[in-house]
Every structure is written in C-alpha cells, then in structure tokens.
C-alpha cells in the first residue's frame, strides 16, 4: 500500500477559501490530516492599536466577507457592555433583521458551494440565484450587499422604512416558494444522497468533546445556539429554537442549514411585524476599560470576541475566535478513513471561512 502526503489547498478548484491541509493518504483513503493557516492572515487584530474603538467597528466587519454584519454587531455589543450602554429597542430588532438576512445569504451561498463540490452545477446556480433575493433586501435597506456597516456602538446607523419592510416581505415570500423547488434536490435526490448520507459522521459525543459549534454541532444532536442560550439583541422576544439533526453526517449538516433558512425567514417576518418605534441609536461616550467577552450566533456558529480596554480610545486587545476555528478539530476528526474524493465535500460541510479564521 502506497502512503503519500498530498497538499490540499490553499489554492484548490473546490475551495472557496484558502485552507491548507496536508493529507496523508494510503492509496485513495485519508489516514491523517495536518492543517496550516496564515495564507490570508491580515493582522486585523493588531489594527486595534491604531484605530479608535468607534472606527474599529469597520475593521471588525471586515473580519469576514460573508457574515460581516454579525461581526460588527458582536463587536458593538462588547463595546456597549464595556461602556454600560443600553441600545434602543428598535435597534435591537433591526439587528435581528440584518443578522437573519446575513444568515440567509450565507446559508444559500453555502448550499451553492456544496452543490458545486459534488458536481451539481444547476443546483449551484439555482442556490446562488435565490441568494440574490436576499442581497436585494440588504442592498435596498443599507446600500451595500455584503459589507454594509449598519451596526455602530450604541445601536444601528440605518432604519428600515415601511416600504422597505414590504419589499423584504415580498422577497421572502418569493424565496420561500422557490426554496421549495431546490430543497428536495438536496435532501432526496439519490445522487446527492449518495455523496452526503453517512459521509463524515461526527457523533454527538465527538462534537461535544471536540468543541464543535453551530450547524456542525447541531447536526450531531447538540442543541447549542447562542440565540437561545444568550437571547441577545431582540432574540429574547422572538420565537427561536435550535434546529437539530442526529445523524451527524454531511446530509444532516445540510438538513440543519436548510431548516435554518426557513427559521430565519420566519424570524425576519416576526421582527418586522413587531418592529418598535423609536430611536436608532444612543450616543456613546467615554473610553472602554476592562475585559469583556461578547458572543453571538453567526451562520457558522458561536463567535467569541475578547475586547480589552485600557481607558484610552484604543483597545489594548481585540481577539476574535471564529466558529470555523472551533470546528477545525471536528473536521480533522472526520477526515481519517474518508475517500480522497469526499474531502472537498467534508471540508465544505463545516462551511469554512478561512479569512475569518486567520484574521
């Protein structure tokens, strides 16, 4: 039996982002994997020393090019806690609206990438076509499509008008209808099931031991969702429960994310229906002092921000632990024993965001 080391990434046709894995193979079977990161390390954490804490919101948003709003929002939550600021109820609800729009477009992007990974080009294009409906909503309400700088310390920068809310509701209805056309292909198509069912299984015990978060953990039966654990923003007033599956394989991870699409549509509708009147933001003054750990549920799972203020306008330390970083041990556990041909699908099912991870 031949044993070889094969570099997988950082540039690879199926990888949306440049993770580098050295795969140890026995013929076509993976027996070990060694990750390395740093290819897109940007030193963003270091920038807190030269950008004041208000400006740094824009840097925090750029940690990730997909779930940018939730990064900015979580950073703002940390600053608000350090400065003892309570944000207006309308801002809490608008943060939920944009968070869930971000989750929708992130999951639709992921569905497309997954379809691409197992070679179903039409499904890939249909998924991304649906994503455009969500991006239209974000663009209308903020002017941006992916990075839109709507969160700020003290609240939000922009409002959603009644006309815009009606536009979003219309797009969500269209999205819901058209999702019904592609979801059966992901969950029931025999060719797709052959690539996903029983592949890359992570048991519940493994998920807990390895510190998996987000849809990876929930697909293994771990009912962990920061929206329900922490009830931040307006989630304490909205109906949200973790979407879980129990098989722990690639299909289960797909099933969880599809369930979360429907859940996010419902949350946005409810948040728009209950959107309270009032201010968008409160004035934030002073300089942060002390440590704070802010958490939120991103599309990929729990994110943790560590902010350390030293009484100046510059933070002493800004650190983000991204969900992809937390899911790397689970990925390394699911690779051994798998066929080389399944590696792209396995990597994709943790929804890796390497720019986030390398910061």
């Amino acid at each position: 039996m031949t044993r070889t080391i094969m570099p997988f990434g950082p540039q690879h046709p199926v990888l949306p982002e440049p993770i580098h894995l050295d795969l140890e193979l026995e013929d076509e079977i993976v027996v070990g994997a060694r990750p390395s990161i740093g290819y897109v390390h940007r030193g963003l954490e270091k920038l807190c020393e030269t950008r004041d804490y208000t400006e740094f919101t824009f840097v925090a948003e750029r940690v990730c090019g997909i779930c940018s709003f939730i990064h900015g929002m979580t950073y703002c939550q940390g600053i608000e806690e350090l400065l003892g600021v309570a944000i207006p109820p309308r801002a809490q609800y608008l943060r939920v609206v944009w968070s869930e729009l971000s989750r929708l477009h992130s999951h639709l992007l992921w569905l497309g990438l997954l379809a691409d990974a197992f070679g179903f080009e039409a499904l890939f294009m249909q998924s991304w076509r649906l994503r455009e409906l969500v991006l239209d909503c974000i663009e209308l309400t903020t002017g941006g499509r992916v990075i839109f700088s709507s969160a700020c310390p003290g609240g939000v920068r922009r409002d959603v008008t009644p006309d815009q809310a009606a536009f979003i509701r219309g797009k969500l209805t269209e999205l819901e209808q058209r999702l019904g056309e592609i979801v059966p292909a992901f969950l029931n198509d025999p060719a797709v099931r052959q690539r996903l069912a029983g592949v890359g299984v992570i048991t519940r015990q493994q998920a807990e031991t390895l510190g998996a978060v987000g849809p990876v953990a929930r697909a293994s039966g771990v009912a962990m969702d920061m929206r329900t654990s922490l009830r931040y923003a307006a989630y304490d007033e909205l109906p949200v429960e973790p979407i879980i599956a129990n098989d722990g394989d690639c299909l289960a991870r797909c099933r969880v994310r599809i369930g979360e699409l429907t859940q996010s549509i419902g949350l946005i509708r409810t948040a728009l229906d209950r959107l309270p009147a009032g201010e968008l933001a409160v004035k934030v003054t002073g300089n942060p002092t002390g440590d704070i750990f802010a958490r939120a549920e991103q599309p990929r799972g729990e994110v943790i921000y560590h902010l350390k203020g030293n009484g100046t306008k510059f933070l002493q330390r800004f650190r983000v632990r991204t969900p992809t970083f937390a899911n790397l041990p689970a990925l390394l556990a699911m690779l051994p024993g798998s066929a080389l041909a399944d590696v792209p699908v396995l990597v994709l099912t943790i929804d890796p965001c390497i720019s986030c991870t390398e910061r």
């Binding site: 990161i37 740093g38 806690e81 802010a294 041990p329």
Partner: protein
C-alpha cells in the same frame, strides 16, 4: 450578548487542575487567547456553560517564560489554540498532544504578536 467576565488568576502549577475541575463540572472549553502586556504575556482560557463564561488567566514574564502546561489532554480542542499561541506569540507549551511545530500558523514574520517582534523593514 456579553458576559462580564469572572476571571480567576492561576499559575502554571494550578492551571491544569482548575481546567480539569471546570470540565468535570460541565463547563465547555470555549477558547484560549494571548495578550501582550508591557511586562509580559497574559493567557486567558475561557469555559462556557449555557449563558455563562468563566476564565482562567495565567500571566507570563516577558523574558525566559517557563513552558505552560498544555490543556490539550483535558480539553481536546485546546491543542489548536495552543499551537496558535505558540506560532503568533512564541508561548511554549509542555505536554501538547498535537504539536504542529511552528507550522500551523504560517506568517511571513514568525511570532508576529510576540513582545519582542519588530516590524518588517
């Protein structure tokens, strides 16, 4: 949602015992990170249980810091965070279950967050 941290100072001798006790009590290892201080490096280990967070904090001197006992035998995912702290901050760990030998975080400048690091010319 943020958590005002309960930060417990620990030493190299008590770190693993405290981490083991927290794990036994149902706390999940959530993250570990390092911060450069004027006179040293501060390591913070975070454990989560539902909405609560608890932290262990170890402060190392700037020069000739002893190896830090690894938590990777107690909390499996800790190996990744410890490899990162080594590659970015130059912190050394003893008993690391998986040691990537400075090859996990490949940056142009080794130990780029370490106190002695100078900007590239």
């Amino acid at each position: 949602m943020t958590t005002t941290p309960a930060i417990e100072p620990v030493t190299g001798a008590t770190l693993t015992d405290r981490a083991a006790a927290l794990t036994r009590d149902g706390w999940r290892f959530a993250q570990a990170c390092a911060t450069t201080l004027p006179d040293g490096i501060e390591l913070t280990y975070s454990f989560a249980r539902a909405a609560d967070l608890q932290h262990l904090r170890l402060t190392l001197p700037r020069q000739e810091a002893p190896p830090v006992p690894s938590l990777s035998a107690i909390c499996a995912p800790a190996f990744l965070y410890e490899n990162e702290m080594h590659d970015l901050f130059g912190v050394t760990f003893s008993g690391l279950t998986v040691d990537y030998g400075s090859q996990f975080y490949r940056t142009a400048q080794p130990f780029s967050f370490a106190p002695q690091a100078e900007p590239q010319s």
